[in-house]
Subunit: 214 residues, 2 copies
């Protein structure tokens, strides 16, 4: 599930090395890590919180990294849910990178964490180019964004392992057909998994957990 | 309304020069241009289409530039509405820049255009750093994105002249209070204008036009 691409030059090479180191560190500590990407407002934080709730019910310990250009809204939501978390503000950068994540790993109590969710900066462009060293890359999208996001951002959907189509309970209200999004996704990523959720109500969370191997 | 910032080094300096040239060209041809930014799915294209509909009713001729990483969904919507338009695919870039816009201006029949809407790439991070040479910078956001986008992306909101809070008809369904967004916006941009719209139904479009000076 962990795919590495080369050819972007020195910057990406260095990023891949650092991502590899993160991957080794996480593996050696027995931590399964997931890179959760998606546009602002797609519901990344809520999806993670719902997954964490169910995982903790099963005795699995969860940690989180909150990545944002500015602010600590998501970080505070994780902490309020009792999840060990680190906040990364990227300033002008539109993505997390392996170096920043490495420092976050140093600040987390990895010995108390079985599963780490790394919430990336909210957009569908930049995060695609920066591997973090996670076991799996996930994109969360919301039907409220329309039905054209895969056609507009084929790269991130082609590269990632799984797409979560969230807020499907609002599909009718906003007049968007999730099947249209699914059809576009299958074109750019025939082997990727797709899960439909309405995370706020918990719909689809069990299925997503199972798809993540829990 | 056209604010220029310096200090980002050579790249921004060059961009500012090119933006200045675009501004001169547009002014000399009597074209009022607007840089329309916002996350994917915020409703930028629909807002522009509704503005164009009303402007054309008043005998004002509208043109458009559609900026996206990939695809031509927005471009086709403009063309189907009978609007002269140019599509810009940025590839890996998460924003339009003045150079790309300059080439688009060469491809547009500026003599037949009074108002030009330039729809930027859909995210709240990168477009903030690249002036295009427009008269005004506008950010379109949707209540479906949550209420934290200003806190997460203060820079773009501080720099732009106007924020359009769209899809307010869905505010109750998604449990988001537009007044909370407005309060955050006023903190980072006390002098910016804010207009509430539900563009699909045309709600707020008249007020927006008036705020744009029509």
């Amino acid at each position: 599930m962990h795919e590495i691409q080369v050819g972007f030059g020195d910057i990406l090479k260095k990023q891949l090395e650092l991502a590899g180191e993160n991957y080794e560190l996480l593996s050696s500590r027995g931590v399964r890590a997931f890179n959760v990407m998606g546009a602002i407002g797609s519901g990344k934080t809520t999806v993670i919180l719902k997954l964490a709730e169910e995982l903790r019910r099963r005795g699995i310990r969860v940690g989180a990294v909150a990545g944002d250009v500015a602010g600590d809204d998501d970080f505070r939501r994780f902490r309020e849910a009792g999840i060990p978390a680190v906040n990364i503000n990227t300033g002008d950068d539109c993505h997390l990178d392996a170096h920043r994540v490495h420092h976050a790993l140093e600040d987390l109590p990895l010995e108390d964490i079985d599963v780490l969710f790394i919430e990336n900066v909210g957009n569908l462009v930049c995060p695609a180019d920066f591997p973090l060293g996670t076991e799996m890359d996930i994109v969360v999208i919301s039907v409220t964004e329309g039905d054209d996001m895969v056609r507009k951002h084929p790269k991130i959907f082609a590269q990632t392992d799984m797409v979560v189509i969230n807020k499907v309970d609002l599909a009718e209200v906003v007049g968007v057909d999730p099947q249209r999004i699914l059809a576009d996704y299958r074109k750019v990523n025939p082997h990727g998994r797709a899960i439909l959720t309405a995370a706020k109500s918990g719909h689809g969370i069990e299925e997503l957990l199972s798809a993540l191997g829990f």
